[in-house]
Symmetry: C2
Subunit: 360 residues, 2 copies
């Protein structure tokens, strides 16, 4: 099913309104989710909507959060999300970072007591709109084992860095710090296809190609896959995300991070509140003239695009290019939803008494 | 040969004095190099000393640089290293970042017109000494090909994040963004041993285990090794380092970065000056009480140390642990130097007319 952005936005807003969000929050949360669908990161878009609702049903999401700054200096702050949707808590925190950067050159906000914030790229790009460099990270439900362990200790903990270019679109590095994002695993599970060696290990810590291994005690592997190929680096990056997002803010970290799925209960003895994010903004003109930066970033992009390809039909891809291509296409042609997602959303609509997708 | 830290420090200072460094700079530069040897990162210590001297002989290193801030806001700055040793330019820049963080909570410095800065960990740890989180990155001579290319476009571009703990030593993530650091390749070259698949590719872009493949048009691979295992993420991280270090400061980036080896000339049409670094410091107490942060980071470390091991004799390694163990050992027992390095250093000493290592 191909659905227009505006229709899906309205549908999603209606769901968020039904669980008690303000109009402003419902619009924002829908906007963040839709951005994932537009950018082709389908695992982080409306496919997760019923997951958020189930968390709300368990009283784990507060639809009317009192999001506030609880500690700050001129360029740093800790924000308490009051158990709100990460989809609205993170944009609040990024706004704080941007305002600090406007005054002092940079702004950095660590967030506690939040929930899943959608795609990191959405938040980092808020800074890019202001001619700033944007940073966004979050910790997440433990699925990844550190090097040498078979215990799930870390989330896929994404890092995002976004830079404003001149004639080219922003350069956006938005990546899980695991070898493969969980969304890719889910695609393989649905298709019943084996995954490449190096993505996951079984309960004994051996590589496996079974996409269902996580259901029997397996775990995702850090970027690098094994020690010989640098999995300790993926682990180090994931640790960095966890510490900046949660040890710094007072959120839960490591294996204490509450699971996104509502059928798993949060840890009985939490070490903090909710999940954590880390957001930052730096004014480009705090370092050099914005025109000079953009000119050179354009030059960087052109040079890398023209790097000698191994296969003539596959050029180097600039980080963020595929997502932008998806966005341009889907804004015009609509967002493709797989049947399982349409069914899930229509059931959700019926349960909450809002218009289903089929009726648009 | 096992040599005491103090003797190697004096030897190294004498070399830097001979090429015209001030006493203060010679001591600092020697200190930074020695720290690599102490921490077991032998590829970045005195093994590189004659390399720095050869660059000086080619007038590519200015022993008496006028290092200065050329652009700033309260929390950001660009520093021009005046072609000085990165070993002294980077500590200057980190000091600027720390002073800004003391006043405003955070400080961020992009550096141009510099040279190789030794290990990133040295610089990041300067912030940790002040109860801050330290960030250090640098670009480097192009040896790494982006995903889908066989052209050397990026350096091994390290990222370092360092955090102060309580009863444990600082947690230090200090990593090349390539699958393997160049130093590991050099060890395999000396030993004449094949390297694992996934570290390098040959001139045609095929995996090879030949450690000498870089001499015949091969290239290092980004962290992740191939597209299926996330090499586009390693490429994205490396790009981030390159942009923050050089596009932001006005240094050379990508394939324009001047080679560390003096027998290769810099690019005839540079896009900036020298190589670039990016350094940052954030006050922990800009986010939460330092005692609370340290308490929770200690808890994080303990929990990860006790994660279930795959093999009972190999526990999870906390980032920075192996380097600290080496440092504690080598501070007491001395620094081991391989014969080739001793020979190289003694020849250097003779050429410059300073006391050789054998005479200590």
């Amino acid at each position: 099913m191909l659905i227009k952005e505006a229709s899906l936005q309205t549908f999603t807003e209606n769901i968020f309104l039904k669980i008690g969000c303000s109009l402003e929050h419902a619009q924002l949360a829908a906007n963040v989710l839709l951005r994932a669908d537009l950018r082709g990161i389908d695992s982080h878009g409306v496919a997760r909507l019923s997951g958020y609702v189930r968390l709300w049903e368990k009283n784990r999401i507060n639809p009317k959060p009192n999001i506030q700054i609880v500690h700050e200096t001129p360029t740093t702050a800790t924000v308490d999300g009051d158990a709100g949707l990460g989809l609205v808590v993170a944009p609040f925190a990024m706004q704080v970072a941007i305002e600090k950067a406007e005054k002092y050159g940079s702004g950095w906000v660590s967030v506690r007591n939040s929930n899943h914030f959608g795609i990191a790229g959405y938040h980092a790009l808020l800074a890019v709109e202001k001619e700033m460099i944007g940073f966004a990270m979050t910790n997440a439900s433990p699925l990844v084992a550190p090097t040498f362990s078979n215990e799930r200790m870390l989330g896929t903990n994404p890092m995002c860095y976004a830079f404003p270019a001149g004639k080219y679109p922003p350069l956006v590095v938005d990546m899980a710090t695991s070898a493969a994002a969980n969304g890719k695993l889910e695609i393989a599970q649905r298709a019943g296809k084996p995954v490449p060696e190096g993505w996951i290990q079984d309960e004994n810590g051996s590589f496996t190609t079974d996409p269902h291994a996580l259901k029997s005690g397996g775990s995702l592997l850090p970027l690098g896959s094994d020690r010989e190929h640098g999995s300790h680096k993926g682990f180090g990056l994931s640790a960095t995300v966890d510490i900046l997002s949660a040890v710094l803010s007072g959120a839960n970290y490591g294996p204490w991070v509450p699971p996104f799925v509502a059928y798993l209960d949060p840890h009985p003895n939490p070490v903090g509140t909710g999940i954590g994010h880390f957001l930052g903004a730096m004014r480009v003109d705090g370092f050099r003239l914005i025109e000079d930066f953009k000119h050179h970033l354009d030059n960087w992009i052109e040079r890398f695009k023209s790097a000698n390809p191994i296969h003539p039909d596959q050029k180097v891809i600039i980080p963020g290019e595929p997502e932008l291509e998806a966005e341009l296409d889907r804004k015009v042609n609509g967002i493709p939803l797989v049947d399982a997602v349409v069914k899930d959303l229509n059931e959700l609509a019926e349960k909450l008494g809002v218009e289903g997708l089929g009726e648009f």
